[in-house]
Every structure is written in C-alpha cells, then in structure tokens.
C-alpha cells in the first residue's frame, strides 16, 4: 500500500445560480480587475488514503465523490491531482 494525496475540485454546476461567485466577481470588478468574466466558488477537498496504486486511489476517490463529496444534482467534480508519498502504511 502507498499513501496518496488526492485533490478534488467541486464546483457549482454551470447554469445554476452561484450568488457567491457573482459577489466575488463584482468585488473583483470593483478592485479594477475589469477582465474578470465569471467566478465560481466551490470546494477543494484533499483526501489522504492508502491504496495499492495510483489508479486505485483515483478510482476510490471518484467513488467518494459520487457517493458523498459532491451532489450530482447541483455540482460537478474533477480529480485535480493524485500524489503518492513515501510515508505509506505497511
């Protein structure tokens, strides 16, 4: 088993009103970032887990997203990165 650190991005599904994103975009405009077209505020989750290999770590995290970490009615998720570390459990 190797210990992996898997990062997941969860964002509001496009087309669903995202008042937080809009508020942040408005604030950025106020600060002079005129080029900002859109902002989406979501969650960044880091899961540390032991798995036999990289693919298994990713597969397992994907299943976690489908079951709990994201709500498919309103959110999209993507696995942003999978990092193996040497501190794996025996």
């Amino acid at each position: 088993m190797t210990r992996y650190k898997v990062a997941v991005h969860i964002t509001p599904r496009r087309g669903i009103l995202d008042p937080q994103g809009k508020t942040v975009a408005d604030a950025l405009h106020t600060l002079g970032f005129g080029g900002v077209r859109d902002v989406h505020v979501g969650r960044h989750i880091i899961v540390e887990l032991d798995a036999s290999d990289r693919a298994a770590a990713e597969r397992s995290t994907r299943e976690m997203c489908e079951k709990l970490l994201a709500n498919p009615v309103i959110e999209d998720f993507e696995i942003a990165s999978v990092d193996g570390t040497s501190g794996g459990a025996a």
Binding site: P12, I16, L17, P19, Q20, T23, L68, L69, N71, V73, I74
Partner: protein, 230 residues
C-alpha cells in the same frame, strides 16, 4: 397514531415537532436517535429542522448516511408517511427521497421571518385539511433554502401536482410568487412521486398555536392524521 421524530446531532426543532404532536394534535410521539436502527413502530416519521452534523460538506449530506436514515428510507419506500422540515427537507433531498436540492439562499443571508405560503394542492396526504389556494402564515429560518432542480424536474413536479406550497405575498403583488431565498418558481414545499414524503423549508411545527403568532401549520399534522388513522 404514533409520530417518530428523528434526532440527529445538531437537530434543534425536534422538541417543537414533539410539542406540536403531543400538545396540539393530541397524539403520541417518540424521539428516534440517529444511531438507532429502530423506528419503534411509528406511523409517521418527522425529519426535523436544525443543523445536523453542523451542515458540514452540504446541509443534510452526512445525516443522510446515519443509521436511522437507512430505516427511514426503507420506510418511505414502503409508502410510510414522512414529513421533512427545513434541514429534514435537505436531508430528504440528499437521500434521494425527493428530487432537487437546497442551495445557499440567493441573498447569501440567513432568513428568519414569518412568510405566506399558498397551498398549491389540497389533494395530498399532508394538505387535505386545507383549501387549495389558501394562504398560510408559517415561519422560515434557514440559510440554505433555495430549492433548485432542472427544468424537466420542475415541470414534472408542477404537472403532477407535487408542488405543494409556494411563497407568495412579497413586497409587490400579494398573489405573485416571491422567493425569500431565491427558490426556483418560489417553491417552498413538494411531495415525492408516490405522495408519501413531504419536504418543506418553512416550519409548520412552529405555527401550531395562535398565541405564538399562527396555528396555520397544524393542518399538516391534522391532514396526515385524518388520512393515516382512517
């Protein structure tokens, strides 16, 4: 008739529901602890309001997997009546007992006020003691009450008479829809396809005594009593 009121860590309307059933409806009620796998032969289950598991991740997302919920889901699938209020509504959506989801209020602010709800269907298990079109005064208190679903789901809910309550009486025309939380089509409450699960953001259990401002919510409990006891 016996009501089972589920208590999760963070539930805070369980006692209000208990009071509504015991003192105002005059029926039996018991609490069901979230770690139990026993619905104690209840006839109706109430998923009360609150902030189960601190609303961590998403409101209702963790509670949905608690032990008692597996029994509540099985009970609902057998046709057992479930009244899911506020956080209970969020849990029921997360559990797939009801379509859609409840998102952060469009204002990004917690709203706590007495609102007006129009009864959109008086045919349901939970609204048969109301007249269709009646306007009820019932409080809301939530930060994540923006009902959201895709257009097909919304059209179906409307077409099948599953939209039970809608917010009305906003700052403009009294009859106009108005969402205090940005809910799509001003939806405040719905029932599932089979009609045995009611989800609503407003708190009928807090509107069961005229002395405290309104008794308009009692009709929901009376409706289910009339139908289930019959």
């Amino acid at each position: 008739m016996k009501f089972g009121i589920v208590t999760f860590p963070g539930s805070n309307c369980d006692y209000d529901a208990y009071h509504a059933v015991i003192d105002q409806l005059g029926e039996e009620a018991v609490y069901l602890w979230h770690k139990e796998h026993d619905l104690k032969h209840c006839d109706v289950i109430v998923l009360p309001g609150g902030f189960s598991y601190g609303d961590h991740l998403r409101a209702g997302a963790i509670a949905r997997f608690s032990p008692v919920m597996q029994d509540v889901i099985a009970f609902a699938k057998r046709g057992g009546p479930v009244i899911a209020i506020c956080n209970g509504f969020q849990i029921a959506c997360e559990a797939g007992l009801l379509p859609g989801a409840l998102l952060r209020n469009a204002s990004l602010k917690f709203v706590c006020e007495l609102v007006q709800l129009r009864v959109e269907s008086s045919e349901t298990l939970f609204t048969n003691r109301y007249e269709r079109g009646a306007v009820l005064r019932i409080p809301i208190a939530h930060g994540d009450g923006r009902y959201t679903a895709d257009d097909d789901t919304l059209d179906k809910l409307e077409g099948e008479g599953q939209v039970v309550f809608r917010y009305v009486g906003g700052p403009g025309d009294a009859d106009e829809w108005w969402s205090p939380n940005g809910a799509m089509r001003a939806i405040a409450g719905i029932v599932n396809d089979a009609g045995n699960v009611l989800g609503m953001m407003p708190h009928p259990e807090r509107a069961v005594d005229a002395l405290l401002g309104s008794a308009d919510g009692l009709g929901i409990f009376e409706s289910v009593l009339a139908r289930v006891a019959a």
